[in-house]
Symmetry: C2
Subunit: 119 residues, 2 copies
């Protein structure tokens, strides 16, 4: 992982929504791409903020008091401890940055929980 | 800084190359946009990796043994301690992610060193 990373090429390796792939690292953080379609699960990360940058499509990050709608080239950082639930009507490509070991479903767990996979 | 961040709109606020603006934070990291044109200065960051994502244009990250050329949607993480010197022939827009307090010119200092500015 010491070469440049073409995010679109990495995303092309993913065939299902909500199956994130690690494309690189920044110190103790993992750089992750994921396809989003449909609704994820409400969850929070008590120990870390959560970075979302939309590369393609449109992502709605539902918060308990409002929705944040991200178009291409827009990013949002969900503060630690804040419940959120991503969703997208069209297939949407997202760059996530989180500390290594962060579980995708946070405190919620459940069927959408997946391990860390490098692609 | 609790709302979404439109990176293109933030970049439009910058009027000079190599004058970075902080657009948000992720835990102890700053999220920075910068316009690149011409050559920067050779430097290294001994304590941190250095994240570059090209949003527009083409960025060459010169390393001592090779060049890494990044097009739009490509990213590269310069490992800590590795000397590098960014350059761009056309105005190029970049997202940087670094620990708060990271100096833009690393160990080199000099005229291109600037403080941290939120935009």
């Amino acid at each position: 992982m010491d070469d440049k990373i073409d995010l679109a090429a990495k995303l092309a390796l993913l065939d299902q929504p909500y199956r994130p792939g690690i494309v690189g690292y920044l110190n103790d953080y993992k750089l992750v791409v994921v396809k989003v379609k449909g609704e994820f699960v409400w969850h929070a990360h008590d120990d870390t903020d959560d970075f979302f940058l939309v590369l393609r499509g449109r992502l709605t990050i539902q918060l308990r008091d409002r929705d944040v709608v991200l178009e291409e080239g827009e990013l949002f950082v969900v503060p630690r401890g804040v419940e959120h639930c991503p969703k997208a009507d069209v297939e949407t490509h997202v760059l996530l940055i989180e500390p290594r070991g962060t579980v995708n479903t946070g405190d919620a767990g459940g069927a959408l929980t997946v391990g860390e996979l490098e692609i």
